[in-house]
Symmetry: C2
Subunit: 153 residues, 2 copies
């Protein structure tokens, strides 16, 4: 009977590769958390991850969960977004500049490139006199699946 705490170790996941590429150790807790995050495939809160880990009785400390999230955000594999409710969530993503659309039904998230925002930022800079050096755009709505679920007929 396979030990549930020892996930079969298939190809290293994108997260595992990211850890090593950034010069960080690939430890058991990090591997487990990487697996849990990839299994979620969408925006999640720290509490979600905590519940996942606790549910499977993998003895992973809360501090480690927050540390791992922070580390992944630091190396650009994760990004923190702010839900309309005011809560924080995290979404897996690539390092290039981009934004997210998040489904309020299932939390699935899709990256959406910069769109015309850099140009808008320049425009705002010209009109306000501000020097803009950071911006954040988040969109919320319903993904195709959740839309269909809403109107089943």
């Amino acid at each position: 009977m396979p030990d549930p705490t020892a996930r079969a170790m298939p190809d290293p996941t994108a997260f595992e590769t990211a850890f090593e590429a950034a010069g960080h150790r690939l430890t058991r807790p990090r591997r487990v958390l990487a697996g849990l995050i990839e299994a979620r495939d969408g925006a999640f809160s720290a509490a979600d991850l905590e519940a996942d880990a606790q549910g499977r009785q993998l003895g992973i400390g809360r501090a480690t969960i927050f540390r791992t999230i922070e580390l992944l955000a630091e190396i650009g594999a994760l990004e923190r977004i702010d839900l309309p409710t005011g809560d924080h969530a995290y979404v897996p993503c690539g390092p290039a500049h981009h934004h997210h659309v998040v489904c309020r039904g299932c939390s699935r998230s899709v990256e959406i490139g910069d769109l015309g925002l850099a140009a808008i930022a320049r425009d705002v800079a010209r009109r306000t006199g501000f020097r803009i050096d950071e911006h954040r755009l988040e969109m919320f709505g319903l993904c195709p699946d959740c839309r269909r679920a809403l109107v089943p007929a």
Copy 2:
């Protein structure tokens, strides 16, 4: 000697008008907080307001501060924004749909209209299949004054 807790009552401020227009009582704590917020003229955190109120020894409870912020947000006189640090801040604003540019130096904030975002949202909807029903854009940088202060020569 004037009682420091009894602010001279000049023309009702925009906030005070907003309270009454929305059918809420105009109480002493609300008047005081409205004054403190207007004196700040920019983004502020709940803790800032708390410190202001406590510093002046106006016996205003913490709960009242949060309740008042929430109420002002509800009637559209205040909006919650998310700082790049992950903290929350609040900025005074009008009820029309708009976005904010916030100075990371002095917290001054400027409203910036919808820009082309509605069009971008439609574009994203078409490309992703999502139904977009909310978006949030925030820009951060340095206001003209803080820029000058940075390069005094």
